[in-house]
Amino acid sequence: MKKIKVLERILATIPLMLGVAILVFVFMRMLPGDPVDIMMGDSLATEAEMSMIRESMGLDEPFGSQLLSFLGGILKGDLGNSYMFNAPVKDVILRALPATIELALAAIVIALLLGVPIGILSAVKRNSWLDRITMGWAFLGISMPAFWLGLVLIILFGVNWGLLPTQGRLDHFVELKTITGIYTLDSILTGNLEAFKSSVRHLLLPGFTLGANLMAIVARVVRSSMIEVLEQDYVTLARAKGLVEWAVVTKHALRNALIPVITVVGLQVGVLLGGNMIVEQVFSWPGLGRLVVDAIYGRDYPLVQGAVMLYALTFVVANLIVDILYTNLNPKIEL
């Protein structure tokens, strides 16, 4: 692959992100309601005090100069101060981000651990009853709203069977010294077995809920690419050499069948992030998704702008990485 092409693609993200920034900015200003009014709530601030606050937040300036100072701030890595938390947006986001990343990673891991074997089994036992059942489940996976699946899991595993925790990230009696904010990682780093168990148990239900959709997609993609690969000449050759079917599948076919999975997972990162606010809501998960919804309703302009920029950037970067990986794995495709 040509290096120049990659550079071109990377440079092309800059105007795109600029467009995102402007669009978010304009959208936020179109929201009805004044942030200072909402912030003050029922307090007895006078009109003069209110306009002083407005001035200190730069809200009295004309629209254009507000936009310019916002864009200028981004270039300097400064996203402004959150109104709701009275702290730099960067800090507020960084505080919530580890929880969201941990949940997304858990979802991806669960989706792959379940989706890949299901897909392989279906492909190998093609058109058997096993294939039909697993593909039926995969179909169900893409047809279920996350909030419903989450509630059903809470009712079954939490309320009825009492097997798994359904709210938050850690049991309240467990103490954990945070380093990265990703609790499973932190508990390994500090050698805290109890916290590790607790955080993994807390991840299972929300992780499965968020990953169910991806799992279904992965299973379907693995199945169809596996079927394709199993018909290739080199697989036939491996069979002719007298290899056991299982060895043929795992040693020869799997590696090539997994290439499309990379693409799918990469493209779904944006969808995972978009879906996380529902899952975070259902499982009281203190992550970015819940924060953004609160911030939109609290008219916390800087926080929403920062968070949405981050979402968009992740999405754009994930797409870029997928494209680059894909062309590397499959040189026939041009970037």
């Binding site: 179909f139 709203p145 909030f147 309320v159 993609v221 919804v293 939109i296």
Partner: protein, 303 residues
Amino acid sequence: MTLSEGKEILRDSSRLWWQNTKDFWRRFRKHPLAVLGLVILIIYILMAIFAPFIAPHDPNKQSISNRLLPPMAFEGGTSEYPLGTDYLGRDILSRIIYGSRVSLLVGVISIAISVFVGFVLGAIAGYYRGFFDTVLSRFSELLMAFPFLIFTIFVMAILGPGFWNLIVALTFKAWVEFFRLVRGEIMSEMTKEYIEAARALGRSSKEIITLEIVPNIFHSVLVLATLRMGYMIITEASLSFLGIGVPPRIPAWGTMVADGRDYILNAWWISTLPGLAIVILVLSINLFGEGLRDVLDPRLKKD
């Protein structure tokens, strides 16, 4: 190319299309799951249309003495309320029946508008290219960079709750996919022989787009529209679940699931049953769409 050759190619392309449409049912029937999906979908549509005649109760009538009754198959349930009642004593079955109206209308209208807008803009951009195409393509990339749900929440926050606001919020981003599909398809159709034939026969650009190209790419648009409709219904339900979809007085499945959240400890049916209605509807739409894809558009199958 002579005039008669050109006419021959044109006639062949339109004959092929008719032939395909005629073959459609014959081939579609071979997909039992897709047929099942279609049948369930039709049942839902009938349920939505005839809701006032089917529903045993007024969906909004409250009855304090009949609060939190379980479905009739469970202890304490009565046949008067087959699927039980919620915390205000409203009949769950009647609310589910009426709730199908919101889901189906939102799904159909938002997809119809998205297809229309995406089709028109995509056709113009793909046929004429140039500045218009560049601007629209950049704008569509911009919209694609937003996660769908955040984007719709954003728009709903600006517009406030309401049925038509919901439609606007959903279509604001959904047209992009159809735009990109139609634009791409038209650009690839343009390189084919029959377009050249139509040009040689002196057809105008408008005629070429509407009479020649549209019938040829209609299938792939239809397939995508069906497969996206389930997603629209889920997104609407998600917004209603968050309390920012349709106003609370209209029975909607997402709202009902949210209503039941506080009662999952002792009344699981309030949340789970309306959710099940969503799952079955979306599942049958997806099965139908998958069957359509197999029959109409083998190219899309590579996934």
